[in-house]
């Protein structure tokens, strides 16, 4: 979803990582992870095989995989873990991969960029790069949306089994000097996953409506995401909620959405245009669907 619909997530993350001296190398020939919500629900074996193929691309490069999407993270982390520990499944998967001359070796790790930034770089180092901080805050009230697959199932994730009330994402994002606001049912699913947005869009939008109502009640200025699908659901989905649930809600929602590296980029002093916070004037029907300009103007960011 990122390369094909939200390229500014890709470029913002690249920029942030560059400033932190981490090199991100592109994998060539990768396919859909495959999306855990849909394809894993159709055939688990196919999901394992295609996931393993993507992992072999990284294995050939001898590098860990860094992911910007919770869905990809959920898929590849679990595929990697399953195939590293289940000999029988690994044998079957390698039988399929052998037909295209590949082999899953189990030699690399799968990481989410939040994991890399939090554990490998550390909040303190990132805080040092940030032009803003506790003394000079960017006065935004943030509504963090962790997303489900970032923290669950917690057993194989690097967050100390914490899935009910984690704080690592808040800590990471607060280097920008903004405050992460607690809101009702903060860890509610956005609704997009599990194939629900694909097959029952209105059902998925009802999840989003509930989340937006809670965020609005808490006075949140900006929603922060770590997954493009959540991002889409809360961004484009917000426009759709305003339309479909017009009679159910008190008024249209107007809370813009930022992917967290866009916020970090802003904190590092980069321009909002290059971070994808301002919609390109030449194209239509592209994100961001809920405009960020008014919020940025409010905190005095030059646009």
């Amino acid at each position: 979803m990122i390369p094909n619909r939200y390229p500014f997530i890709e470029s913002a993350t690249n920029n942030v990582f560059e400033k932190l001296n981490i090199e991100l190398i592109e994998m060539e020939g990768a396919s859909c992870c495959p999306a855990p919500g849909v394809f894993r629900g159709f055939d688990i074996d196919t999901w394992l095989v295609i996931g393993a193929r993507n992992i072999t691309i990284a294995e050939e490069l001898g590098l860990d995989i860094a992911l910007m999407c919770n869905g990809c993270y959920g898929s590849l982390l679990e595929v990697n873990h399953t195939l590293k520990h289940d000999k029988e499944k690994r044998r079957i998967v390698n039988e399929h991969l052998a037909k295209i001359g590949r082999e899953f070796k189990g030699s690399i790790n799968v990481r989410h960029v939040v994991d890399i930034l939090y554990h490998d770089v550390g909040v303190d180092k990132i805080q040092q790069r940030s032009k803003y901080g506790r003394k000079t805050p960017l006065n935004l009230k943030l509504g963090l949306h962790y997303g489900c697959h970032l923290t669950k199932p917690s057993e194989i994730r690097p967050w100390n089994q914490e899935s009910e009330k984690p704080t690592f994402f808040d800590e990471l994002v607060e280097v920008s000097g903004c405050k992460s606001i607690d809101y009702k049912d903060k860890f509610l699913c956005c609704g997009a996953g599990g194939g629900v947005r694909g097959a029952f869009k209105e059902v998925s939008l009802d999840y989003t409506r509930e989340k937006l109502e809670n965020m609005k009640a808490a006075g949140i200025d900006v929603i922060i995401t770590a997954c493009p699908f959540c991002h889409l659901q809360l961004d484009l989905g917000q426009v759709e909620v305003n339309k479909i649930f017009k009679d159910k809600i008190s008024g249209p929602f107007n809370i813009p959405v930022m992917y967290f590296t866009q916020l970090l980029g802003l904190a590092f002093g980069m321009e909002p245009e290059e971070l994808g916070l301002i919609r390109s004037p030449d194209l239509t029907g592209i994100p961001p669907f809920i405009p960020l300009k008014p919020v940025l103007k409010k905190i005095g960011v030059k646009v």
Partner: protein, 186 residues
Amino acid sequence: MENIKTSRITKINDDLSDLLRDAGYLEASSCIQCGTCSGGCPSGRRTAFKTRTLMKKVQLGLTEEVLSDKELWFCSTCYKCLERCPRGVPVTDVIIYLRNLAVQRGYIQGPHHALCKMFYKTGHGVPINEEKWSKLREHYKLKGIPPTTHKFPEANKEVQSLLKSTRFDELTKVGDYDLKDEEGGE
């Protein structure tokens, strides 16, 4: 009260339990119907999908009813039930496996079917299907075509041959109708 479904259970059969056990989900039979899963389920509070009821039906072996029901697809795989289950039942994984069984029997939602076709054709669920997406990439100083199966046709072929190898194409009948581009607003 007319719309309540009733099922005559004359014999509890173990087919579903056996299938789940063979697939490695032995703990599904440990469910004590406490309802913690339904309590946290974000889908259940707005749809007819009740996680606890589903697990009971699985225990009772109501295979056809479980697999043919549209409600099985209302779960957004948020994993809250799996995390909170006091008996350690991997609820979400069981639901995903049941979906596999449903697809094997031909029960798949229309838009999902279209996604399978897209996946088979392009290697992606959400491909670059309009010029504006390429232009958007270039606007952010990225190459118009990303280095995925879009750029490398051999990679695309690799994916397709794998999908044939696992018989995904047969399972989801991707050859069924003409591929119409499904925008879906994405």
